[in-house]
């Protein structure tokens, strides 16, 4: 079974703090993703990475950055946390394949609920 783990289930930070969310997958997947999930909005893609040190912006990258130094680990960084970044953050991974199929079949971690005060 693919396992995607996230460093914290719950996190409380203060406005202006730098926040690191860590994600690790154990199935040698090339692609890794960071989403945020908000009520009524579904999941929105923040960043994804298709290889080590490679990254692509998703729909809502503003206020976030990412790091992928090793294949199994993908970090999401909030440079200066703000209250509007209070959300559920989900990490996912997938294999690489032909076409868009592999981007679709993703394996998700349990999520980190971040509260910014």
């Amino acid at each position: 079974d693919v396992k995607v783990t996230q460093s914290s289930r719950y996190l409380v930070k203060r406005t202006g703090e730098k926040v690191f969310l860590e994600c690790v997958q154990d199935m040698d997947h090339e692609n890794m993703f960071w989403y945020r999930q908000d009520p009524g909005l579904g999941l929105r893609l923040i960043y994804f990475s298709y290889d080590v040190k490679m990254k692509e912006k998703g729909d809502i990258p503003e206020g976030y950055s990412v790091s992928r130094e090793k294949k199994e680990r993908f970090s999401l960084i909030l440079e200066s946390a703000s209250t509007n970044q209070t959300s559920m953050y989900l990490c996912a991974s997938s294999l690489t394949g032909a076409g868009t199929m592999s981007l679709g079949e993703q394996f998700f971690g349990p999520g980190t609920r971040l509260t910014v005060l």
Partner: protein, 110 residues
């Protein structure tokens, strides 16, 4: 503008078949449609994926009409444990966007 749209909620009774439709305009010929199930306090879990006609696995079927502007997830004989939020996802190759629908909350009643 690439977009996926689903009903916000649906109710059903145990043993019934449930069909959840997702609308996705601007989909390209080879773009895949994927459906996920999510329980509270868990990440979404893959259910089924396809890009044309019909796909069936042990838990669901996916129907995609010829124009591919919508797709329907079919859950046969639902049980109480199928109560969850269901999301459709389209990876739009023409824009490079991964777009989830806003999710359909399915409530299965006894």
């Amino acid at each position: 503008l690439a977009k996926t749209t689903q009903p916000i909620s649906m109710d059903s009774y145990e043993g019934q078949e449930v069909n959840i439709t997702c609308s996705h305009n601007n989909i390209a010929t080879n773009d895949y449609i994927t459906w996920y199930q999510q329980f509270p306090s868990q990440g979404p879990r893959f259910i089924i994926q396809g890009y044309k006609t019909k796909v069936t696995n042990e838990v669901a079927s996916l129907f995609i009409p010829a124009d591919r502007k919508s797709s329907t997830l079919s859950l046969p004989r639902v049980s109480l444990s199928d109560t969850a939020v269901y999301y459709c996802l389209v990876a739009f190759s023409n824009t490079g966007k991964l777009i989830f629908g806003q999710g359909t909350t399915l409530q299965v009643k006894p």
